[in-house]
C-alpha cells in the first residue's frame, strides 16, 4: 500500500553506510550538534542589526572613552597607549554579550516550548547542550572578529599570527563564558532572575577584568576577586597574545598569582578547565529525567 512512502525517509539510519551502531549513534549526535550551531548562525545572519548593536558599546568605549582618556594617561604608566590598552578589554566585552545570551536563550526556549521540541529529538541531552555551547562560542567569536577588524585604528598591526592568536583567545574565552552561562541557565527557571543576576554582577566583572585599568593598583581584596574572574583571564590572555607578537605594546598589570604573573598557557588552561567543568556540570543537571 503506502508503506514505502512512509518508510523511505527513514532510510538514512540504515542505508547511509555500513557503519556500526556506535558510529551511527555518533553521527546522529554530531548532526544534532551541527543543527544547533547552524541555528545560531542563521539567527545571526537574520539579524545583522542585532550584531551591529552588540558592537556599538565597545566601539563607543574604545573611541570616545579611550580617545578622551588617551591624552590624560601617559603611555609609561600602562606600557602602551590607552586605546591599545583598552582594546583587549573591548574584545572581551564584545564576546561576552552573545556568549551570555546563550543561557538567556536556553531559558526563553524552555518557556516558549522550543526546548521541549529539542528534547523530543532522539539525541542525548549532553549533545543538545554541547550544540548550544558550540553555537554560542562561534557566534561570540564572529562578533569579536568584527571588532578585531578595527585593530589598526588603535595602532595594532594586522599581523596574521597576531590575528590568529587573538581569535584563538576569543574562542577560548567565549567557550568559558558560554559554558558558565549555560550552567547558570540550567538551574534557573525564570529569565527575570537571570537578567537580575547579570545586571548585578556584569559591571563589577567588567571593572575587575583589567580591561579598563591595570589591576595592580587595586586593593588586595579586589585583586583577589579579579583572580576569580573569568573575564580577567580572558583579557589577560588576549593582552598576552599582543605582548607576544608586539613587545612594544606590552601592557602592565594583569592578574597576578602571589605576586607573579601566570604564564599564558596556564591562563588558557584555567579558562579551558573552568569552561569544561561548567559544561559538564550543566550537562549533568540537564540530563536528569523528569
Amino acid at each position: 500500500m503506502t508503506t514505502p512512502a512512509l518508510r523511505a525517509p527513514a532510510a538514512p539510519d540504515g542505508t547511509d553506510g555500513p557503519g556500526s551502531a556506535p558510529a551511527d549513534r555518533l553521527r546522529r549526535e554530531l548532526r544534532a550538534v551541527h543543527a544547533l550551531v547552524h541555528r545560531d548562525l542563521l539567527r545571526l545572519a537574520a539579524q545583522p542589526a542585532h550584531a551591529a548593536l552588540v558592537l556599538f558599546q565597545p566601539v563607543l568605549y574604545l573611541f570616545i572613552l579611550g580617545g578622551g582618556l588617551a591624552a590624560l594617561i601617559p603611555d609609561s604608566s600602562l606600557g602602551t597607549g590607552y586605546q591599545a590598552y583598552l582594546f583587549p578589554g573591548m574584545l572581551m566585552m564584545t564576546v561576552q554579550a552573545p556568549a551570555i545570551m546563550v543561557g538567556v536563550r536556553l531559558i526563553t526556549d524552555r518557556q516558549s516550548g522550543y526546548l521541549r521540541e529539542l528534547l523530543m529529538a532522539p539525541v542525548s541531552r549532553p549533545a543538545l547542550l554541547l550544540g548550544s555551547c558550540a553555537g554560542g562560542t562561534l557566534v561570540a567569536t564572529v562578533q569579536g572578529a568584527l571588532l578585531l577588524c578595527l585593530a589598526g585604528a588603535v595602532g595594532l598591526p594586522y599581523d596574521p599570527v597576531l590575528i590568529a592568536l587573538l581569535l584563538g583567545g576569543m574562542v577560548l574565552a567565549s567557550f568559558t563564558i558560554t559554558a558558565l552561562s549555560l550552567a547558570l541557565a540550567v538551574s534557573l527557571n525564570r529569565p527575570e532572575v537571570f537578567h537580575m543576576l547579570l545586571g548585578l554582577v556584569m559591571m563589577p566583572l567588567m571593572f575587575l577584568s583589567g580591561g579598563f585599568f591595570p589591576l595592580h593598583n587595586l586593593p588586595g581584596w579586589a585583586r583577589a576577586l579579579a583572580g576569580a574572574n573569568p573575564l580577567a583571564y580572558g583579557v589577560d590572555l588576549l593582552r598576552g597574545c599582543i605582548a607576544l607578537r608586539v613587545p612594544d605594546e606590552a601592557a602592565v598589570g594583569g592578574i597576578d598569582w602571589f605576586g607573579r604573573q601566570p604564564p599564558l598557557v596556564l591562563e588558557a588552561g584555567v579558562l579551558l578547565a573552568t569552561g569544561a567543568a561548567a559544561l559538564l556540570w550543566a550537562a549533568h543537571r540537564f540530563s536528569r529525567p523528569e
Binding site: A5, R7, D13, R116, P122, V123
Partner: protein, 362 residues
Amino acid sequence: MQPHAGAGAPAQAAPPPAARTSPDSAHGATGPAYAVSTRGLVKTYPGPDGTATHALRGLDLDVHRGETFAFLGPNGAGKSTTIALLCALARPTSGRATVAGADVLTEPDLVRRRVGMLFQHSALDPDLTAEQNLHIHARLYGLSRRDARRRTTETLDAVDLVDRRRALVRTLSGGMRRRLELARGLLHAPEILFLDEPTTGLDPHARAQVWQHLRALRDRQGSTLFVTTHYLEEAENCDRLAIIDGGRLVAQGAPAALKAAIGDDRVVLRTSDDATARRVVREATASPDTAVTADAEGVWLRVPDGSAWIPRLCAALAGHGIAVLAASAAPPTLDDVFFHHTGRSINAARPDRTPDAPGSAP
C-alpha cells in the same frame, strides 16, 4: 469511518523486508499488532507539602496501527501526561508502555525516532524562515543534509506551505504555523504522530484545514494518529476513541459503538412549569428505571425512539394544563457517552466554564 482500517492494519505492521539493516530493525516493526500498548501506566507527581498528584492511575490502552485514535477528556484529565509518557519525555511511576514496537522505559531514543509530536503549545523559532526551521529540525533528527533538504520540500508541499517557505515564521498566521508544526512533526516520517490538542486556539477555518491535512496523511501514508482533544466533534471523526477522566480510562471503542451502547435518545422538554412537568412525565413514562431530570435546560429523560414519545408527553402535559414551549429528541452524542460514564458533561468539567450558570442554558 475508515474502510480499510481493519484490513490495512496487519499490512502496515509488516516491516519492509530486508531493506533496512539498521540495528533497530531487529526489534523494529516485526509486526506488533498495536502501535501503542500500555498496561497499568501510573504517573504521580510530587505535590506541595508531601502530597502527591496522581496524574494517571493505571492506564491500559491499545491503539491499532493505521488508525486515528482520539483521546478525549476534560482539561486536567491526564491527556498531556499520557502523551509525555508515550513519547518517553517523562518516565512512568509504574507500569509499562510499548510505542511503535519500542519500550518507553528501556528504549526511549528508539521511541522518539519512530514517533512525531505536535505539542499543545508548540514552538517554532520565530526569527527563522519556515524552511530553516524545518531544516534544523530534520538535522536534529539525524537526517543527512540531502535528506533534510528533500524532506523539507516534501513536507512543506504536504501542508501547502511551499509558497511561504522563505517567510519568517513570525509573519505566518496561527493556522499556517500549526501546519508548519505538522510538517515538522512529519520530517522524520514517524510511524505514529501524537497530536496534543492540535486545533486549540485556531479559528474554524484553520481547524478544518488542519484536519484535512491529517486525514490526507492517514489516507495516503497509513500513519497512526493519536489525537488528544476536548472537542467532541473532532473525536467523533476518529476511528476509535478513549475517554479519560481523573487519570483513569472510562471507556474505549469506536464512536458509533460507544454511542450505541447507551442506545436511548435524549428527549428534552421546556415547559411553563418544569417541576410539575417532571412529575407528570415520570407518570407518563410509567417505568421506574427511567430517570427524569429537571435542570436549567428543562425536563429531560432517556427513552428508546425518543421522537415517538414527544406527542404522547405533550398530550399528557396538556392534560395537566402545562404549556410545552419546546421539545426535542436527539440520538446519543459523545457528550452523552461522557456523561454516562462520568456523571457529568465534558464541557461542564472544564474549569473555564460555569456549569450551572442560568445564562449558559441554550
